[in-house]
């Protein structure tokens, strides 16, 4: 029993934090809002140089062969940076799905993903719209319980402008065929279930980073902004509101890390663990957004102030890969139908 990250994992995290601070400052994030695609192929290539898209890809396919415990800290950092590039769909969901399915699909795509040469969008029934389909080189789409690998040129994308200007989501019109089917039956079910857990875990990790950044911005503002002759951060009304957010984030974090462990080790309580993480992390991030806005007052309510970059990310992450109610319902049915563990870490009985 050792609930901590290794020195190497922490080192990689701080490397990625520095990298993102240099390559994707908020100025760049906001400039990308104004572009057609909202994405930067150049930024994606840089991310590939650090190894991010191929983190879960096996070494013989050019990846880093790491697992979700490594990935979760890096996703946290991408949330801190409000990075909009499709790490969740490509690195966290599609790469392990393709790796698991193997065969010609893996031969065709894993190396490209690891090299930063392919972006993959995933159309999953839990998400009504598919993110980043417009920049994808491959679409992995669900139909009738099957998974299909679809060339983007064979699909029609209908853009659905969303509240977060960095978010690009689409309805997709396409026709499944026997040739496009890459998984069906139990295999497809298993991968689609795993995809929810991988996607929700990734959202939860990003939400932690988003929440932390929002608190930092609010603290900085409350320290510099004076009213009644003192910094507003000296008022208990402000202190207590921000302390409450800090409590929520501190208690969401280990839940997210445990979920990462469960996904990486195929724990038998994986889905429940992920649902707890998604709800805790996203609700902490939403609380952070709401509180940071209130602390900023009117200036926070402007388009110009950067605060809403992270506020909108908190909201969009909360809705993606199952919202809070969806995940609570999943925990509830496990809890009340008796499949949830009665002890932490899925411990049931001594195996001595």
């Amino acid at each position: 029993m050792e609930f901590a990250f290794s020195e190497d994992q922490e080192l990689l995290r701080s490397t990625v934090r520095d990298f993102l601070a240099g390559e994707a400052p908020v100025k760049i994030i906001r400039e990308l809002w104004e572009t057609d695609s909202g994405r930067s192929r150049q930024l994606w290539s840089s991310l590939a140089e650090v190894g991010l898209p191929g983190l879960l890809v096996p070494e013989d396919r050019g990846g880093l062969a790491m697992d979700e415990i490594d990935l979760v800290l890096l996703l946290e950092e991408s949330g801190r940076a409000a990075l909009a590039e499709p790490l969740i769909s490509t690195a966290a969901v599609a790469a392990p799905m393709i790796r698991d399915l193997g065969g010609a699909l893996a031969d065709a795509w894993l190396e490209k993903i690891a090299g930063g040469d392919a972006i993959v969008a995933v159309g999953h029934p839990v998400n009504r719209f598919t993110s980043d389909a417009h920049v994808a080189d491959l679409l992995l789409l669900e139909a009738n319980g099957e998974i299909h690998a679809v060339d983007p040129s064979a699909a029609t994308l209908i853009h659905q402008p969303a509240n977060d200007p960095a978010r690009r989501i689409f309805s997709i019109e396409w026709k499944p065929s026997a040739a496009s089917c890459v998984a069906s039956g139990a295999e497809a079910r298993r991968e689609l279930d795993a995809a929810i857990d991988r996607g929700a875990l990734a959202c939860a990790a990003q939400a932690i980073g988003v929440g932390q950044r929002l608190v930092e911005m609010a603290v900085a503002y409350a320290t510099e902004r004076h009213q009644f002759g003192v910094p507003i951060g000296s008022f208990q009304a402000i202190k207590h509101a921000l302390a409450n957010v800090q409590v929520a984030i501190e208690y969401a974090q280990p839940v997210v890390y445990r979920a990462a462990h469960s996904v990486a080790t195929h724990g038998r309580c994986r889905s429940v663990d992920v649902s707890m993480a998604k709800r805790a992390a996203c609700s902490a991030a939403e609380q952070a957004a709401r509180t940071a806005l209130q602390v900023h007052g009117a200036i926070g309510y402007t388009w110009e102030q950067d605060l809403h970059v992270w506020m909108r990310r908190a909201w969009s992450l909360a809705g993606a890969w199952g919202n809070g109610a969806w995940h609570s319902a999943r925990v509830a049915s496990a809890l009340f139908e008796g499949t949830a563990p009665t002890e932490t870490f899925g411990y049931s009985a001594p195996t001595v």
């Binding site: 029993m1 050792e2 609930f3 901590a4 990250f5 290794s6 415990i69 608190v215 603290v219 409350a222 320290t223 003192v230 910094p231 951060g233 000296s234 208990q236 402000i238 202190k239 207590h240 921000l242 302390a243 409450n244 800090q246 409590v247 501190e250 208690y251 969401a252 280990p254 839940v255 890390y257 445990r258 462990h261 080790t265 707890m276 709800r279 805790a280 609570s328 925990v331 509830a332 809890l335 009340f336 949830a340 009665t342 002890e343 932490t344 870490f345 411990y347 001594p350 195996t351 001595v352």
Partner: protein, 388 residues
């Protein structure tokens, strides 16, 4: 990261479970805030100690088992699961004990810890005074040096377990020219010292859970001082860290309540009388109890790697105290009309503990430093917001 128990840890769990199964009293003991119940609990502690289970993380020579903190968490999980009695000497074993381990001399460790483990000496805490509650550094009780003794004067209040305990620990002002956090000394006081008067106070539940303690020229040896003279504030903060942060409220306590709440919800559904809106409150309780557990395992890992408990203890204190209130509120709501019944009511069979638990949970956001004080600590020491 490794979130599995080693085979040694599993064997330890099995050992604790077997011992508890054969030794936990079949009938619940009377409340330890009554004279009879207090002695019943002291007897239970003696049995626990004889089995070597009173305080597993302590060294063997002080009555412990030399376990690490992971084993302590495992023991706590088994302890609550077994339905064993509450710990009457919790002020001693969970708060003062670890503080003596940190600040005590070898003589003090040998003198106090074994009798604490056996509950031959049960401890009360003497934090608050009538004019020093949240503002703890405003204490006025004094300790004046007279040769090898301190002469204590003043008044402590809300002293938990004060009514029946044998000893009290507390802070006294040793340097009258100082203010606030300086010039304070941490002193251990036998409650049978001449000049000490204990007046029990009935709590919200009607029992004498705490007391006022009057000190009128009470003489205690200088060897009863813990830490250096005039440096008692640091000693007290260490005690408070254990109280808020780790030992006093182990996760097992809340996991156990959460499990009972899930069972209560299932029973209520089975009887066809559940309010659908309460479902999410039950789920949230269970998830929060898990979160508390996970956070604690993370903290314990950090401590085992050489870290210390700092201001983040305040984050824990807010979380567990509010979780406890929320769980009990939810239970009373599930009980509906039965929620207001006292345990002796014929209609309260099997569910009478929830009301008691609710009343007790309401003290959580107040004791060990109010949650408002904890929020100030988080804001100023963790977030670095300005004090003024």
């Amino acid at each position: 990261m490794d979130l599995t128990y080693t085979s040694e840890q599993q064997a330890f769990r099995q050992q604790a479970r077997s011992w508890l199964e054969s030794n936990v009293p079949a009938e619940p003991l009377a409340s330890f805030d009554t004279a009879d119940g207090f002695e019943q609990h002291r007897k239970w502690e003696q049995k626990l100690n004889a089995g070597g289970w009173a305080m597993v993380p302590w060294p063997v020579e002080y009555g412990g088992r030399g376990s690490d903190l992971i084993e302590w968490l495992i023991f706590e999980e088994e302890y609550y699961r077994s339905g064993a009695p509450g710990r009457v000497n919790q002020n001693g074993i969970f708060l003062l004990g670890p503080t003596i381990m940190e600040y005590g001399t070898d003589e003090q460790k040998a003198r106090y810890l074994p009798k604490m483990a056996s509950s031959e000496e049960v401890w009360a805490q003497g934090w608050s005074e009538p004019n020093a509650g949240s503002d703890m550094a405003a204490i006025q009780a004094t300790a004046v040096r007279d040769g090898d003794h301190y002469i204590l004067n003043g008044q402590k209040t809300w002293a938990s377990r004060g009514a029946y305990a044998d000893w009290l620990f507390g802070m006294f002002r040793t340097d009258p020219d100082t203010e606030r956090h300086r010039g304070i000394t941490f002193v251990l006081v036998p409650l049978d010292t001449p000049g000490v008067t204990v007046r029990p106070i009935e709590q919200l539940d009607g029992e004498a859970g705490f007391a006022e303690v009057f000190l009128d020229d009470a003489r205690v040896p200088v060897s009863n001082r813990l830490g250096e003279e005039n440096k008692g504030w640091n000693v007290a903060m260490s005690t408070a860290g254990f109280e808020r942060g780790l030992m006093l409220r182990s996760p097992a306590r809340f996991q156990n309540t959460a499990r009972k709440l899930v069972a209560l919800y299932r029973d209520t559904v089975a009887n066809g009388e559940v309010e659908p809106l309460l479902r999410d409150a039950v789920v949230r309780s269970w998830m929060d109890a898990e979160a508390y557990t996970l956070n604690t395992y993370q903290t314990v890992t950090r401590l085992l790697q050489g870290g210390k408990i700092g201001s983040e203890a305040s984050i824990n204190k807010i979380f567990w105290s509010e979780l406890d209130v929320h769980m009990h509120e939810t239970a009373l709501a599930l009980l509906g009309a039965r929620g207001e019944l006292l345990p002796e009511a014929p209609g309260a069979t099997g569910v009478g503990d929830w009301l008691d638990g609710y009343l007790f949970s309401l003290s959580g956001p107040i004791y060990a430093g109010t949650n408002e004080i904890q929020r100030n600590v988080i804001a100023e020491r963790i977030l670095n917001l300005p004090r003024k």
